[in-house]
Amino acid sequence: MTAGGAVIGAPIERIDDERLLLGRGNYVDDLHREGLLHAAIVRSPLAHGVLNSIDSSDALAMPGVVAVYTHEDVMRVLGRIPKIPMRIAPLPELAPFEQDVVASTRVRYVGEPVAIVIARTAAEAEDAADRVFADIEPLPAVARCGVVGKEPPALLFEGTSSNASIIYTAKKGDAKLATGPYIRREKLSMQRHTAITMETRGLLAEWNAGASHMTVHGGAKVPFFTRRILAGTLGLPITSVDMIEVDVGGGFGVRGEFYPEDFLVPFAARELDNSVKWIEDRREHLLGTNHAREMQAEMEIVCEADGRVIALRGSVSVDVGAYMRSTVSAPSRNVGQFISGPYDVPNVYMESTCYLTNKTPIGTYRGPGIIEADYLRERMFDMAARDLGIDPVEFRSRNLVPSDRMPYSLADVDGPKRTEELDGGDYASTLDRCLSEFGWNDKAALQGRMIDGSFHGIAVSCFAETTATGPKELARIEMGEDGRLTVFSGASNIGQGVKTVLAQIASATLDIAIEHFDVKVGSTNLLPEGVGSFHSRATVMGGSAVLIAAQTLHKNITAAAAAKIGCDASELVFSPGLDVTARGVTLTRADFGRMKLEAAGEFLSEKRTYGYGSAAAHVSVDPKTGKVVLLDYLVVQDIGRIINRMTAHGQIIGSIVQGLGGVFLENLVYDDDGQLLVGSLADYLLPSAADFPNIRAILLENTPSQSNPLGAKGVGEGGIISVLAVVTNAVAAALASLKVEPNHLPLSPSRLWEMIQASPVASDSKCEWA
C-alpha cells in the first residue's frame, strides 16, 4: 500500500466491494428493529373507477394485524389528502393531474394504493391485504393515447375536456415552413418499459415521538427533495425528518422519487408510534414503480439532395399513465429538445403531447426522452440515406456539428422555457474511431447479405449525452484523530460506485491513499443540503464539490501547519500521506484530525455538459424465426475526463445491455381494460448473461468539459442512448432487400417475423409453409 494519493483515471477497485462480496451489504430489508411492524399495500384491482368505500373489517380481525389506514384516516389526521408534487418542471396548470398520496375518490390505474395494512409480520400483512375490500364502481378504461378528433372512452379528471395534460414544444429556426428536395414522413413507436432494479423498493420508517422526529431508510437519488415533501405532507419542519441512505440495489431513475408509499409508510409509523417496514414485492414493482418510454410519433425529415438535413419535425404522443407524477415532464420535453442529438439541424419543431391513460404513471428511466429522440432521428436518417442513395456513414458525417461550431444551440423547449447547447467535442473523429475499431469497412461487405440462412446488417449512430444538471452539489471533508478522513456528499449511491469516485478525487487532490477514506453519501443528516444522483450528475457535480472541499482542506491544512510550527507556508514540505514537515517538526493526518480540521465545498453550475460518441452494431437476422443475433456492439464515448476507468466502463456496458432489453425483450403490455398482462419476471423479460455477450466500449477523454473543475462529463446514460436506434437500424439494414422498416419496438421474434411477412417484396425469406 503506497502512502500517496490515487491517480485520477486509474481503474481503482471499489471501496464498498469487499463488504458487498462478503454478504455484508446493508439494504433496507436487512434492517431490523425491536418490535418492528410490517406493511402491505392494498392496491386497486381496476384501472379506472369511482372509489365508493373500503371495508377493512375482515382484515382487522386477522391474526397479527394492528391497523389498516385509508384516505379516511389521512383526512382525519391531517385534514386533507396531500398531493405528490412533480419534481421536474412543475407548472400550476399541471397541479390538477398530480397524484394524491392515497386514492380517495377515484382510482386511475391498476396498482394504485388504496390502503395500507400494518401487521406483525410481512406474511400476515399480505394475508390481511387480500381481505381489504374496496368497493369500486368501474368506469371505462383509457388504455391508449388519445387520437385527435376521437373521443376517449372516459376522461380521467373531471372538469377537463381531454386527457391531454400538456403539450411541450421544442423549436429552433422555422421547421414548420421548412421545405427541401427530399421529405419523408414516418410513423414510429416504442413500447412501455420499466427499469427493473434488482432490489425492489422498500422503506423503514421510525417515529421518535419524544423528539417528534421521523427517520426513513430506503430512499435514494434525491433524498433532500423527498425529505422536504414528506415533511410537508406530515406537517413537520424539514429538520424533523431525515432520510438515511443505506445500500441500494440499483436506481436507473425510478428509485427514490416520491411515491404514495413514501407517505403511507411514515404516516403509519407515526400513527402507531412504532417502526414500520415495507418491502415492495416484484409483482407490485411492475405495477407500482414508474414506467417509461411508451410513445408514438409521426416524424418528418427534410433534406437537401446531398443529405444535409434542413429540418426535423414531428409530433409525439407520450403515454404518461394516470397522473403527472415526479419526473414525467423530463422524457416528454427531452424527446423534442434533443431530437437533433450531435447533428447540425437548423430547423426543429417537435410537439410532445402528454396523454393521461389508466396505466401506471411514467417517470425518468435512464436516458429519458433522449433514447426516444435518438431512435426517431437515427431511423429517419437511415431511411433518408437509403432513399437518397447516400452511404449512412457519409450521411452522418455531413451532418455532425463540427467542433469549430461549438457551443451549438439546440432547440428551445417550453414548460418552462429551457435552452441548451452542445458545449464542445470532436464528433467527427470519434465517429471515425468507432468505425475503425468496429471494423466497419470489413463488415460492410456483409451488408444486407444472406449467409447461412441469416441476413447480416450493420449500422452506426452518433449521440450526445446531456449530463450533470445543476444547480449545485455540496461536500464536506473531516479529518479524524485516527488519521482517517470522512468525505460527505449530497450525491446519492445507487450502486454506481460514486463513493469510490469521490474518494478517488479526494485522495488524488490530498495525496492520501484511498484506503484512509470513508465516504458517506445520500443521507440528509450529513450536510445542510444536497441534490442527488440523476441525469448523470454524481461524478461531475458531486465530484467537483469534493474537489473544491479537498482543495480548501489542503489550504486549511497549510495554514494550520504553518501556524502550529510557527513558520511560513513556503517552508512546508508535503509528503505522500500528507505528513507536513518544516523546521524539524512533522505533523501527521492524525494531528490535523486532533485540530479538527475540515472543509466544505459547494459547486454551482447551471450549465449541462455533453458527453458524446458513436455506436455501431452488427446483427444477423434469421427471417424464418425472427431471431436476431447481436454479433458485435461497440460504443466509443468521450466523457471529458475519466475519474475511475473501471467504473466508467462498467456503467457503459451495463447501460448498453439494459438498452438491448428494450430492443428485443421488454414490453409492459396492457389490455383494453387497463389490466397489466405482464405480471412477473417470467413475462417481463430482462437480458440474461447468454443473450448479448459481444459488447465493447472504449472511453475517451479528448474534450474535457469547460464547465466544471474536473473537466468531466457524466457517463451513466451514454451507453444506453444509442442502443435502440443503432440496433434497429442494423436490423433494417439486414432486411433492406425485403424493404422492412422496423419502426415499432420491440423487435420480438414474432413482431419481426410479422414485419417480414408484410413486406411488399416477394421472397423465399417469407413463410413458405402455407
Partner: protein
C-alpha cells in the same frame, strides 16, 4: 409474495401420501421439487390448505436403465439426476437433450420428472418427450397402481388424468435403438424460457433404407403435448435421400404437413401465425438434420 398459510405433511411412503391427499379432497397439493408449484403459490394463484411434501418418499427415487435402453425414472428424479446419469445420454439421447433446455441450472437441481408431468404445461419439455417417446406413466392411488400411456395422460393445459388422491410413481420410456435417428429443437425468447415452439422427432431406418416408426411431437401447442400424425405419415416409409435437394424437399414436405395440422393462438408474446410458421420451420430443420447428420443449433434464442 409470501405464501398463504397452509398445513404441511412430509410422509415417508407413497401409501401415507395417498392417505393424506384423500383426507383433504380438493384441498391438498403434492410438493415435489416445488419449481412449478411454489411460484404459483407465491402469486397466490394456488392456495392449498395442505401441502404434502414427497421429499422423504424414497421409493419415488431412482433411475434404472436396461441394456436395450428401456428406462424407468422414479417420479422424484431431478433434471440434474438425468443429466448426471452416465448411461442416460446414450440410452435416451432425446430425453437427455431435451432436459438440457429445462429452465436453468438452479431449477434443474430441484425440479422433478413427476412434478413436470403432473403440472402438464404444454410449453414444457418433459410432457412432449413423454408423449413423443410413448412413455408409460405409472400412477399410484388408493385402490392400487395403474399405468397409462402419456398420450392419454394429458387432457389440457395444466390438466391431467390424475385424480385428487393419486400420485405419479414412475415414468417408463421404451427401448431406444442405437441406430435411431432423432432431433430435438426448441425456440425460446431467452435460454431457459418456455418454448415458443419445439419439436421432438425420431424415426428408425429399416433394412431397405426407409424411414419407419416416425414420431413427431410438439412443444408449445395450446392444449397439450401432441404428436403430428399427418407429418409422421408423410415421413413414414419415405426413402431417405442422399441428394441435398431431395433431402430438402422431403424436409419441406413434412414441414408443410405439420403446418397444416398445427394451430396456435395469439398472445402478447407471439402471434398464432408466427407460432405455426415457427413450428413448421423447426420441423423442417429437425428433419434435415436427421438426414444430413449435421447438428442444428440446439438452442435458438437471442
Amino acid at each position: 409474495m409470501k405464501f398463504a398459510p397452509f398445513e404441511y405433511a412430509a410422509p415417508a411412503t407413497v401409501r401415507e401420501a395417498i392417505a393424506l391427499l384423500a383426507s383433504r379432497p380438493g384441498e391438498a397439493k403434492l410438493l415435489a421439487g416445488g419449481q412449478s408449484l411454489l411460484p404459483t403459490m407465491a402469486f397466490r394463484l394456488a392456495q392449498p390448505a395442505l401441502l404434502v411434501d414427497l421429499g422423504r418418499v424414497a421409493e419415488l427415487r431412482g433411475i434404472e436403465v436396461a441394456a436395450d435402453g428401456a428406462t424407468h425414472l422414479g417420479a422424484l428424479t431431478r433434471w440434474c439426476d438425468v443429466q448426471d446419469h452416465e448411461d442416460l445420454s446414450r440410452a435416451q439421447p432425446l430425453l437427455a437433450r431435451a432436459i438440457g433446455h429445462v429452465a436453468h441450472y438452479q431449477v434443474r437441481n430441484r425440479g422433478t420428472v413427476g412434478g413436470s408431468l403432473a403440472h402438464a404445461d404444454p410449453a414444457a419439455e418433459m410432457p412432449c418427450v413423454a408423449v413423443t417417446c410413448e412413455a408409460q406413466i405409472v400412477i399410484a392411488g388408493p385402490s392400487g397402481d395403474r399405468v397409462m400411456p402419456a398420450a392419454d395422460f394429458f387432457l389440457g393445459p395444466l390438466t391431467t388424468d390424475l385424480a385428487e388422491d393419486e400420485i405419479i410413481v414412475r415414468v417408463d420410456l421404451p427401448a431406444w435403438p442405437a441406430t435411431r435417428r432423432w432431433s430435438f429443437l426448441e425456440f425460446s425468447r431467452r435460454p431457459g424460457d418456455f418454448a415458443l415452439a419445439g419439436v421432438a422427432l425420431f424415426y428408425d431406418v429399416d433394412h431397405a433404407g426407409f424411414a419407419r416408426n416416425v414420431h413427431v411431437g410438439v412443444i408449445g401447442s395450446r392444449m397439450r403435448p401432441e404428436r403430428l400424425a399427418g407429418a409422421e405419415s408423410v415421413m413414414e416409409g419415405a426413402v431417405l435421400p442422399e441428394d441435398s435437394e431431395e433431402r430438402n424437399a422431403l424436409a419441406v414436405r413434412v414441414a408443410k404437413r405439420a403446418f397444416e395440422e398445427y394451430s396456435a393462438a395469439d398472445d402478447y408474446h407471439a402471434s398464432g401465425a408466427y407460432r405455426r410458421s415457427l413450428l413448421a420451420t423447426l420441423v423442417s430443420r429437425a428433419v434435415a438434420s436427421t438426414l444430413t447428420g449435421e447438428p442444428v443449433e440446439a438452442r435458438v434464442t437471442h
